[in-house]
Subunit: 212 residues, 2 copies
DNA sequence: ATCATTTAGACCAATGTGGTCGATTTAAGT
DNA sequence: ACTTAAATCGACCACATTGGTCTAAATGAT
């Protein structure tokens, strides 16, 4: 067995993962409490240190887990053959929402991690993290069809603005649905509204379509 | 003397305020440590509890202080006779930056407070908070000249998008200048870039100017 | 029946908590 | 110069929480 923890029943595994991710996301590494983790995970204290020898090991395991998940379930899924920037982002936004619906704390946890000190982490985690950054940049900016934008547009700035709008909508959505179980929600109307924003962005920054 | 603390030398007052604001902003009420506050403020433990009887009293004092500052130095300064939404926001953005340059932790502290439980606070603080919300809403949305927007624009959505772009720029600026003492920085080039974004927003959402 | 693996949580020393208090310094008043 | 009051410090308190250990019981496997 590579890792005791891996070969647990799925449900218990999830309970522990969720409890730990939430705790670290809320308090950061040092101020996170293993006591609260075991309480929320409903396991005995001993077990946590049986599966993961130390608090730090647990933290590193979570980092691997979350980095892998975002790379595989999010980044790798982004379709780089779609050359329309906004369209590509539309699909990326959906993927992100799906990941968030299934595993909200994965993204929460990574979000807080970005702020922490990266230097004193094991090399393999640093590597995975830089991979994510590099691949993320490519997935967003490579192979974009600039000719869709109006002439004289500062495309750099347009990219950023589009990005900020999408992030803004995501934030607002999360805030307005706070507490509700995202995964058991009918997301369709929210996607519809999301698309309206994207359409406005298109007519704001793209050339008017010829014909039609 | 209404409050011992008020009649201290300005410099010591600021040291204590900064230390406390940072501590609460970083850790929230419960996990904030009075020990760390006195250490960073470079005063003895006794003094803190001499000025403010309890940790909670200190917290409430800070809330009053920050709410007053944002209401007076920011909200009240927004010029409501400017009917151009983006222009009004341009000035508001500058005010916000100025406040942030002088007292970065005031906005940081309030930012974290919004997430905390509002219910179990003294009534006067709740009142001040709702005042801020109500006045903020007015200062943003009242007396706007809708005719500037292109026809068929969903103005509600345009408002939000403009808002998100401005917030996005502010975030990026803060991140890229992290660590540097904002107040002793020449902000002009950043404002220039800020204006470029605003111009793009205008040509994205406003009617084309007649003539000229 | 025997041995190995899981499990829980009481327990540990160490550290940190909000808050107090006596001792000492400084300031003020006369 | 003398007295009194205010300001200041940090050792100290009882208590809570920390990451981590260990024993003893439960469960599983053969």
């Amino acid at each position: 067995m590579t890792h005791l923890f891996e070969s647990l029943e799925e449900e218990k595994k999830q309970r522990i993962l969720n409890a730990a991710l939430n705790e670290f996301a809320d308090h950061g590494f040092e101020r996170a409490s293993t006591n609260r983790i075991v309480k929320h995970a409903k396991i005995g204290k001993g077990m946590l240190f049986h599966y993961f020898n130390t608090k730090k090991d647990l933290y590193h395991y979570l980092l691997h887990y979350c980095l892998d998940k975002t790379i595989n379930d999010y980044l790798k899924q982004i379709d780089i053959t779609e050359r329309d920037f906004i369209e590509r982002f539309k699909k990326a936004g959906e993927l992100k929402m799906e990941l968030f619906a299934e595993h909200p704390n994965v993204l929460n946890f990574l979000g807080t991690f970005f702020l922490a000190d990266i230097k004193e982490l094991p090399e393999d985690i640093q590597a995975k993290y830089t991979q994510l950054q590099k691949e993320g940049y490519e997935k967003i900016y490579s192979n974009i069809d600039y000719s869709l934008f109006r002439e004289n547009t500062d495309v750099e700035k347009a990219f950023k603005m589009i990005n900020w709008v999408i992030e803004g909508y995501e934030r607002e959505l999360k805030a307005s649905l706070k507490g509700q179980s995202f995964s058991e929600l009918n997301m369709e109307p929210y996607f519809k509204e999301f698309y309206k924003y994207l359409d406005m962005l298109k007519s704001a920054f793209y050339k008017k379509e010829e014909g039609k």
